[in-house]
């Protein structure tokens, strides 16, 4: 039982990071843009929040946790949407290739984040390991009375607020896409930009907004990782990159539906941490077990292409840049 609870919790922690990335990327892809810059954007989101809070916590003796949280979220949204904006400008206005631009953004984002993550202390003239204790504590604050309710409390209420925020965002995104006019317009832009344009929908504006907002949401994945997952510090170990790519994979797994991202993300978490709970594994064979989320994604990918159901296809104009005068 103890093992089950800790696996469940580990899966939720892990899943939350990639759920944010996945929701953001779903919004982006629904607008017809395949943004392979998710890892870079998550990096940008994570480092912007860390830097902002680091400066704030260093500037006062009594940092308020509400300000910390707000600052972290705003800074990450700004940083991540800035990354999205670069991508949007290059792919929409300058019509550069989406995959290549996304990869360049990944390189850029990881460079910026790891550079500042590794040198913030040196630049600020301090020498200890970077840490933002107040903010991290605020992010990890669980729902206190409910969390002590035995197993139920541990399973469902022992997390920081961002875990619930991710689920709410997923549901809101799903409702937005399926039941609002703007959502419908956005889907049209992704499926058939010519038709959208002819119907009087501003293709460029929809794409720009979807990409920037999507990137901002991806950035929350970075914040959650930095503030909660690794408890308010910085690690140059490339984990965010891995998680970012898994978010991209999760989009396929969820077949472009935000509601599926919820359970998909937790399932990925279970698959990722399962090796810890299987007895008798050596250190080498554990590594083989860690392949599971990727292998499962491949299998899902193959199956969705086999069944060829119309419900499960990517947006039809995904990856193509739109030029009105092109025939």
């Amino acid at each position: 039982m103890q093992g089950f609870i800790s696996l469940f919790q580990a899966a939720v922690f892990f899943g939350t990071v990639i759920m944010f990335g996945c929701i953001g990327e779903i919004i982006t892809e629904k607008a017809g843009n395949l943004n392979l810059g998710v890892p870079g954007i998550m990096y940008l989101g994570g480092i912007s929040s860390l830097a902002a809070v680091f400066i704030y916590e260093g500037s006062t003796d009594t940092p308020s946790s509400a300000v910390c949280v707000l600052l972290a979220l705003l800074a990450s949204f700004a940083g991540a949407s800035f990354g999205g904006l670069i991508y949007a400008f290059l792919t929409i206005t300058l019509r550069a290739n989406q995959n290549v631009t996304g990869l360049a953004l990944s390189i850029f984002g990881s460079g910026v984040a790891n550079f500042f993550g590794g040198s913030l202390n040196t630049l600020a003239g301090r020498f200890e390991q970077i840490s933002v204790p107040v903010t991290s504590a605020a992010f990890r604050q669980n729902i206190a009375p409910l969390a002590n309710m035995g197993i139920i409390g541990k399973l469902f209420f022992s997390y920081g607020f961002m875990v619930y925020l991710a689920v709410i965002l997923a549901i809101v995104t799903q409702l937005f896409m399926q039941h609002t006019m703007t959502g419908l317009n956005l889907r049209t832009v992704g499926e058939n930009p010519q038709a959208a344009d002819a119907a009087g929908i501003n293709v460029t504006a929809h794409k720009y907004l979807a990409i920037c907002i999507g990137a901002g949401i991806c950035g929350f994945g970075g914040v959650y990782y930095v503030m909660d997952y690794i408890k308010g510090t910085w690690a140059n170990d490339g984990s965010i990159e891995k998680l970012g790519w898994l978010s991209v994979a999760l989009v396929i797994f969820a077949t472009w539906k935000a509601k599926n991202a919820i359970w998909g993300a937790y399932l990925f978490g279970v698959l990722y941490w399962m090796y810890l709970y299987i007895p008798g594994l050596t250190r080498a064979s554990q590594e083989i077990f860690k392949m599971l989320p990727y292998v499962v994604t491949i299998v899902v990918l193959v199956f969705t292409s086999l069944t060829n159901s119309r419900e499960k296809q990517p947006p039809a104009a995904l990856g193509q840049s739109y030029f009105r005068e092109e025939r």
Partner: protein, 366 residues
């Protein structure tokens, strides 16, 4: 007479083709220059160093001594080799994001040969490593290609996932071969006897891999430009329907091209292990698989341009490393600079492909 209700937009775009080569080159050089200026400002803002001094530090960091030149060349050749491998796939519009994994599996089998078969005579050992690393890379590329050809499975994500399968496989072998025990690294393989290491030529072991890459570059140039296969690849890349109409078997061309692409990436892994680091770790590919995609794309799959862009990026990396160590900052600065430069070069393509038409001032006939 109906009044015109809508104004003509200020800027209008038209597609253009057939820009003279010197103009293309000029646009690219201008974008590169602008990127360098921006990077200079960024570096100045962070470190407070004089940008001109920064660039001269970078030059000395990359080309200052014999060792540094060789290490820059090594980096350049690795990047170029992967880019050459990716070129045919991308020319076919097959998004092979999986070079990272293909390099790693090539590296794994090379390391395996160095560990288990060191008793073989050097010539046999080298040929064997060459063949198996290419075969391993080809296998890694074959899998997504088969599914793409048969079921039209999305290759971008398939190859991407294969990277992580390869990374875990590498971790598995690192744990298996670790030396000394408990270090979780393989250590330098055959440190004393140097079996399976590239022999030094002209004072450096890089010389041999550089030669192999240059030969591959020439072969790839000829293959893409002057052979039937190369022609088929470009037809499939332009339009699959046209290719089908012309009687080209798209599925077979896809599989054949990915076998080749994966094999060359596998060879890059062979060179990284046998020719450079003499060890294997999850960072053997080190993100070059992704960077090489951009190299191949920007070079428009031209071998010479791929070598030049690889040189530029290798220079940036060694140069930024030098600045970082001088200012006690970390070397990720090079990735940041690389990112900025790539953005500019990517953006500059727009001015080659499109023409801006400004609204004409004054009265005009409709």
């Amino acid at each position: 007479m109906a009044k015109e209700t809508k104004k003509e937009p200020l800027i209008r775009l038209t597609k253009r083709d057939g820009m003279p080569a010197y103009k293309k080159l000029l646009i690219r050089c201008i974008s590169l220059l602008m990127a360098c200026v921006i990077c200079g400002f960024v570096i100045y803002a962070i470190t407070g160093l004089n940008p001109v001094e920064v660039y001269s530090t970078m030059v000395s960091g990359a080309f200052g001594t014999r060792t540094r030149i060789w290490s820059t060349v090594k980096e350049m050749m690795m990047l170029a080799c992967i880019a050459i491998g990716l070129a045919p796939a991308f020319k076919m519009r097959f998004w092979n994001i999986g070079a990272e994994g293909q390099v790693l599996v090539g590296g794994i089998v090379t390391a395996g040969c160095m560990i288990y078969l060191r008793a073989l005579p050097p010539i046999v050992l080298f040929s064997l490593m060459f063949v198996v690393s290419a075969a391993a890379g080809a296998l890694w590329g074959l899998l997504p290609a088969v599914f793409k050809a048969k079921y039209n499975t999305n290759e971008t994500l398939f190859t991407l996932m294969m990277n992580y399968v390869a990374i875990q496989l590498t971790s598995f072998f690192v744990a298996k071969w670790e030396n000394p025990f408990g270090s979780n690294t393989v250590g330098v393989i055959n440190q004393n006897s140097q079996e399976g290491w590239f022999p030094p030529v002209m004072g450096s072991r890089v010389f041999m891999s550089a030669d192999i890459v240059l030969i591959l570059a020439v072969l790839m140039f000829v293959y893409l430009k002057y052979t039937k296969h190369g022609y088929e690849i470009s037809v499939v890349g332009e339009s699959e329907n046209t290719a089908r109409y012309a009687g080209i078997s798209v599925g077979w061309v896809t599989i054949r091209t990915m076998l080749l692409s994966g094999a060359i990436c596998g060879l890059a892994g062979f060179m990284a292990v046998a020719g450079a680091s003499h060890t294997i770790s999850t960072s053997t590919a080190g993100g070059r698989g992704f960077t090489a995609i951009i190299v191949a794309w920007l070079a428009k799959f031209d071998s010479g341009a791929m070598l030049l862009i690889s040189l530029l990026l290798a220079f940036l990396q060694s140069g930024a490393g030098e600045i970082a160590s001088k200012c006690k900052l970390n070397s990720y600065a090079s990735e940041m600079i690389t990112g900025i430069i790539l953005f500019f070069i990517l953006g500059s393509e727009f001015f080659i492909n499109f023409k801006l038409m400004f609204r004409k001032h004054g009265k005009e006939e409709a």
